[in-house]
Symmetry: C2
Subunit: 146 residues, 2 copies
DNA sequence: TATTGTTATACTCTATAACTATA
DNA sequence: TATAGTTATAGAGTATAACAATA
């Protein structure tokens, strides 16, 4: 039994612990986010907010769904007054999506709720624990990119 | 501007960073878990594995869905040979759920895949970064309970 | 011809309401 | 009467296949 084996075992344990804690915390945050829109709708709206002037095809690719699925989501969001569809300036096949003021407001409110819940939980931690999470956040972020 | 305000701001920033990194990592892990079963089915099967001899009502409450929704999930898992329904020993209205050997095997395989992916990502971190995550895991776990 | 987006259709997951069997 | 579970039915989200409009 060598050092590598020991390290691997340790990493497997860490992976197991992280898998459980990340899954649970994510599920809990989702539950705390208000329920005015579904995860699908929030995801699409958020993507439009981040990359203004997306087309439906780009949005479907970004959210990893097929174009017909996104057509439906867009129709719903448009009917609810949260985004608008306008003609593409040069290509008449395409459509350009933008957030309405109501869409922008709703999105910010949704984020605010989740973060308020999380901030409240963080306030109950010791300063040392908060420091650990402050160091962990960018590492977790990088893990998802790998 | 006092100390409290500064701390609160800092916590809000940490909350925002954690929300994003937790959400992304959770989404990515889900995508890495093989696709033999849906999240719903894995969740139900996992709950039966953890609390053997659950009834459908208990399982629905645990997974936070309505009983008819769980009836359907159970029917599917039973048809796929992953769990069994047996009579309750004393109350003939109730039903007792247990994992089959195939269900147990599939569940372990699903977890193994997710953890293998995560362990591989962890292996790419420095020892210092791994130490930070090792300290962070139990804190994240507690956050979801609060 | 190729691309963009939509419509048609089907499957899964979820819900509420109504029903059956048992307590 | 109350409880456990199921069946009936409907809405949301997803997919593939087929179509229309435009490039």
């Amino acid at each position: 039994m060598n050092m590598q084996t020991s390290q691997t075992r340790s990493r497997a344990g860490l992976a197991a612990a992280l898998r459980v804690s990340i899954s649970r915390l994510s599920r809990r945050m989702r539950a705390e986010g208000g329920h005015s829109l579904s995860a699908t709708q929030i995801g699409a709206l958020g993507a439009v907010a981040r990359h203004d002037a997306l087309t439906p095809g780009e949005l479907a690719a970004h959210e990893k769904v097929q174009p017909p699925s996104m057509t439906r989501t867009i129709a719903r969001l448009e009917a609810d007054g949260l985004l608008t569809r306008s003609p593409h300036p040069t290509d008449r096949r395409q459509v350009v999506l933008s957030l309405t003021a109501a869409g922008d407001k709703l999105l910010k409110e949704e984020r605010r709720r989740k973060e308020a819940w999380l901030a409240q939980r963080l306030a109950e931690l010791t300063p040392e624990e908060q420091t650990i999470l402050r160091q962990a956040a960018p590492i977790l972020e990088r893990l998802s990119h790998g």
